[in-house]
């Protein structure tokens, strides 16, 4: 560990990985709840077009990716609402458009080939500059602040869109907030795990966390913990074993998922046994169960 921390580029890489491991599962939890788990992937492909556009126009690929991805995310919301397409079809359209646009545009940019895109496809955390870190940190703060500010509304929206409208919430604006926040997260994570694996960090920690939890808040917190641990663990593994960092991070997260499935199974069967023995003993439900005010998991 000490050896790793002495290297400047590794310190930056670790910082970027921690930020991504923290932020991606936050927005991912809302996407999974909304049953749009693959939205991150779709936006990632669009971001690729943005990267190519950045090279073509000579602007920063990350900035261009952020703008194009945000526009793409807004488009997907529009397609979902207007075109009477289900979410997954809208996503598929985004996938294809994004990857085709990226490959087409990068071919037009002078002095670049599709190989230029590789750093963005698979991530290149070891080449992260301090300028990148500032950018990533700003995006992370933006994403977390947005989710913190709109958290309750976003929970209602993702839980039950019709109820959100019956509460008079600005559903269209909130949908856009989610989509654009997801887009920023994707661009943030792009340097670390790459476009192809970007949505893994949004989805896999959440999938692992929900094996172990019955509450939205706990799932969210657990997913962040798993995301950060996977990012740190995967990056360290990559450093010492000399493997691709993005792949190591995602495989580690998948390992946690597998462990969580097993643990969740054990927890539930233990809980089920406790419940059935209690019921068999004929204990009245009221009074024997923890009552409402005890819980620390009350929704905000």
């Amino acid at each position: 560990m000490a050896e790793m921390l002495q290297l400047d580029f590794m310190r930056r890489a670790l910082l970027a990985a921690v930020l991504v491991g923290m932020v991606a599962p936050v927005i991912g939890t809302f996407l999974v709840q909304r049953r749009l788990a693959l939205l991150g992937d779709g936006i990632g492909h669009v971001a690729l077009t943005g990267v190519a556009l950045g090279f073509l126009t000579g602007t920063s690929p990350v900035v261009a990716a952020a703008i194009v991805a945000a526009i793409g995310a807004g488009l997907i919301e529009l397609v979902r609402v207007r075109a009477r397409t289900s979410g997954d079809v809208a996503l598929a359209l985004l996938f294809y458009g994004g990857i085709a646009g990226g490959v087409l545009l990068i071919g037009l940019a002078p002095g670049t080939t599709t190989a230029t895109l590789t750093a963005y496809l698979f991530g290149s955390v070891s080449t992260v500059t301090s300028g990148d870190i500032v950018m990533v940190a700003v995006l992370a703060v933006l994403v977390l602040a947005t989710v913190g500010y709109f958290g309750r509304e976003l929970f209602v929206l993702c839980q039950d869109e019709e109820a959100a409208r019956a509460h008079g919430l600005p559903v269209r604006m909130l949908s856009l907030v989610i989509a654009v926040t997801a887009a920023l997260t994707v661009v943030l994570a792009m340097r670390v795990v790459g476009v192809l694996l970007v949505s893994a960090l949004m989805v896999v920690p959440v999938a692992a966390a929900q094996q172990l939890s019955r509450s939205f808040r706990v799932t969210l917190a657990l997913a962040v913990a798993i995301g950060v641990a996977s990012a740190l663990g995967g990056l360290s593994t990559a450093f010492y074993a000399d493997v691709a960092p993005g792949a190591a991070i995602v495989l580690l997260a998948l390992g946690v998922f597998a462990a969580a499935v097993a643990a969740g199974y054990l927890v539930r069967s233990a809980r089920g046994m406790a419940r059935s023995t209690r019921d068999a003993a004929g204990a009245p439900a009221e009074g024997t169960m923890p009552q409402t005010e005890q819980g620390g998991v009350a929704s905000s």
Binding site: G168, Q210, F216, S299
Partner: protein, 277 residues
């Protein structure tokens, strides 16, 4: 069973000349250019309990959703508490229970989290729930007898229990105007009676309740007025139709066996065929 109170402002409860809770004027609703409702006019005075009856597909849910702006009107207008829907902002006064298969999203959420989410418009941003807000959630849970399941995931509940979670969610913000779309569907007799007690108490506090029902069940004595939808319009508006007369009406879809005079036993196996798991 604790007391469930509403946030009805005192002057609203007493002023006789107040605007109706809901006013629907010559409304028409179409899905994909198929007209489902047309020429519907209706006023629900504040404090009334209105039952909306009609066979499957007659547009009951559509009418309720139109009242809340969840489906656009192709013509006509809707006012809530005297304010046209587009300018209506007092959403904290509205409690809506959708006709729904389940209460869950893609991520686990506890019963308490879902119920508390009903308070979303009342909560202060970036603040924790106040004691009063937590108490309201507790009362809502008790009203549907789910206090002991508060920390369980809604995914782990049965269909009828999930329906009761949605009812509690509507109660949690202490609204004074309720739209309940078949709240009894899949709900057992004891919980139906509990809901009837809750509605009685809300009504005593001046709440307005629009109820979509197939089976009045234990709510029957509470219903002050009922409308029957058929063929895209209101074909009956007035006193609740007697069960016998209603069944005799042509076009009535016969969904329940003939009335058992004893309400307690009638409530038991007589409920509508549950459409959820």
């Amino acid at each position: 069973m604790s007391t469930v109170t509403t946030g009805v402002p005192a002057q609203d409860r007493t002023s006789a000349g107040a605007a109706p809770a809901v006013r629907v004027a010559d409304a028409a609703v179409a899905y994909d250019s198929t007209t489902v409702l047309s020429g519907v006019s209706l006023e629900v005075p504040a404090g009334e309990i209105l039952a909306v009856l009609g066979s499957n597909g007659s547009g009951k849910s559509t009418l309720v959703r139109a009242m809340l702006g969840l489906v656009p009107l192709s013509s006509g207008s809707v006012e809530l508490h005297g304010t046209p829907l587009r300018r209506f902002r007092e959403w904290g006064r509205i409690g809506y229970v959708p006709q729904r298969l389940s209460a869950g999203g893609g991520v686990p959420a506890t019963v308490r989290e879902v119920v508390a989410s009903g308070q979303v418009v009342r909560r202060r941003r970036l603040h924790r729930a106040t004691a009063a807000e937590r108490a309201a959630v507790g009362e809502a849970l008790e009203a549907v007898d789910l206090a002991d399941r508060a920390r369980d995931s809604v995914h782990e509940l049965s269909g009828g229990q999930q329906q009761r979670v949605l009812i509690a969610r509507a109660l949690a913000a202490r609204p004074d105007t309720f739209f309940l779309d078949e709240p009894m569907a899949g709900v057992d007799a004891a919980s139906q009676r509990a809901l009837a007690r809750t509605v009685t108490r809300l009504s005593a506090q001046g709440a307005t309740v629009v109820l979509v029902l197939h089976e009045p069940g234990p709510l029957e004595p509470l219903i002050g007025r009922s409308i029957v939808l058929s063929g895209g319009g209101i074909v009956h508006d007035g006193a609740p139709p007697r069960p016998e007369g209603d069944c005799a009406r042509p076009g009535h879809e016969h969904v329940h066996p003939h009335a058992d005079p004893d309400p307690a036993s009638a409530a038991l196996p007589d409920i509508e065929v549950p459409r959820r798991g």
